[in-house]
Amino acid sequence: MTTKRSPDKPLTGAEVLIKCLENYGVEYIFGLSGGAAIPIFDALVGSKIKLILVRHEQGATHMADGYARATGKPGVVLVTSGPGATNTVTGIMTAHMDSVPMIVLTGQTITGMLGKDAFQEADILGISMPVVKHSYLVKNTNDIPRVIKEAFYISNSGRPGPVLVDLPKDITSAPCTAVLDPEMDLPGYIVPSKGNKNDILKMAKMFKGAKKPLLLIGHGAVISRAGKAIMELAEKLNCPVTNTLLGKGAFPETHRLSLGMLGMHGTAYANKALILCDLILSIGSRWDDRINGNPAEFCIGAKKLHIDIDPAEMGKIIQPDASVVGNARLVVEELVKHVEPIDTKEWLQELNYLRKQFPLKYSCENGVTAQQVIDALYQVTKGKAIVTTDVGQHQMWAAQFYLTDQCDYWITSGGAGTMGFGFPAAIGAQFGKPKDLVVAIVGDGGFQMTLYELSTAAIHKLPLKVLIIDNKYLGMVRQWQELFFDNRLSGVDLEGNPDFVKLAEAYGVKGFHIHKVDHVKEVLEEAMKYNAGPCVIHAEVIKEDNVFPMVPAGKSAYHMIIEPPKTKLEKPTGST
């Protein structure tokens, strides 16, 4: 039962907080309640913001993350102090690594008890410091409107990222007399936008004389919605385009100029293009170790150009020959005006030859494979689904076989590699895009880390689909052990997996089962038609299969393995 508050009583800090969130257009809060956060949950009663009660705080963070990636708006998380707060750390780190805007509101013990080991007290500000873009511990109720305004601005400007706001219970309970829309106080925060014109002109000049240019598209291109500008640039230059795992969708992977994903498990032709190109322009990628295992051997002899909104990315891994600090979309829009078309006929022919010689392929001879299931999903959904994934083999196969043609349709944990991300992220994405088809492609390992959110999906009757690629292994690690560690399997056998269909049914969720090669498409078609609520598709695939091509960790594209190797491989020098 809810009672109305007396109209002449001043608003509490918590009530002002919720009002601010409403004013910033927050539709959903993903959260789990607890003692120190009760005033905030109380203020949510009667608010137009919908509270999505999760089953574990990590789930809330991944939902907020999926929501943010699908909509471009910050995802909001609300949890209590202590364990409630610490349970968000993995999700905050995931958002931080992939530059995702997120606001995490944590309840905290009363200010008088801070530092005195009070019940459910955790120094979440200290714990989270290395994985946030910024954070606050609010010690004055009247600071709430300014802090929230700053949090929203910081989280979704420049290079986006998570912002944590720690809110002691006495602060949210006390009356707040501050104005709802105060001035921000951020003298040290500068957001680069258009980029320096001279830098752009210098970059444009670099294209003169290039015969084998290559565009490398990263997450910055997706975040800044640079797709149209990149299309113009690629077509004007007639230049091939490759994308990172997180760059999927910024340039259509079905376009004639697209080489698809590059990197550790990228296409052979994209990786060969890295070796052959004489100029590479990274648009919002950070040359990270998944695409550049060995910087000393990266694009040897090629001019390296870099567009990024984060000045700290310049020279972090690769020293660029020309660079522009700015918003990828705005910079590319300007750059297009100053480049001349390049005769790339021979270059494209060379790449098309490689494309034919080394296509992505799979076989169905030994039973259902993950690739077959994902390829079938791509066909059944006509490539129109928002796909979220976990991390591992299924993620790489999904990236290879589920081509992405538009921004926001590919949601995966790239930098952090967080297992258990895919399913809750799909819930967030479905809330954000209620009319879209959302499919979480997850592994049997990752799904079991966050499957408790089946309740959350079921209660809200979200029509999302969870496709479990079940090989009964932590497959990517098993692949490494097979290839580099004499097949000495250790800690990878997921013996004891549940019957996922029965498990789904226990949550009131519809279950489908794939186990025969010739039924794959049929089952997927049926599942895609099911919209009464969430459904789980349990795809049992062959246990021992490896993802190729593969560039061993720490190596450059020169060392790419395209076919299963016949001889023993050296242990990789790269970290993971």
Binding site: M129, H134, L137, I154, G188, P311, A312, M314, G315
Partner: protein, 172 residues
Amino acid sequence: MNKANSTETKKNLHTISLLVVNKPGVLVRIALVFARRGFNIDSLVVSPTVNPKFSRMTITATGDKATLDQIIKQTSKLIDVQHAGEHKHETAIELELALFKVKCKPTSKAAIYKLIKRFSAQVLDFTESSLIIQQTGTTEEIDEFENLIKKYEIIEMIRTGKIVMAPGKEPT
């Protein structure tokens, strides 16, 4: 430490000056950037500025140039850091203050006072057996003084760490 090693260390010793917004936690955020990249902070001075809203931090740390560039960029990126930059010995005024408590026997007193005079140091306190000497100067001058005074046995030593200021119109 041999001579080659010592010059190597000196080459890798950097002075970084940061103008930061006076908010709790800003020091931790900065320290994390250094620690994550394996830079040991050799000295750290935090002081108020003319504007009470800001503080000045002067940090000396040892490490390679490429990592230093990253550290400066990563600290500049922190929301509460308004400016971060390295200061070169040649282009900035650098000073440090040190206190030495030195054993002082009647036989060594004259020699110690001679040193004090030569370095324009001051005696702040004396007892029958010891002196407290204050010296202000560049890091090198203090190093040199320390080297010479140590044969009379230093009981205790404390140094403030370097503070720097850019000359003329250039802001620090």
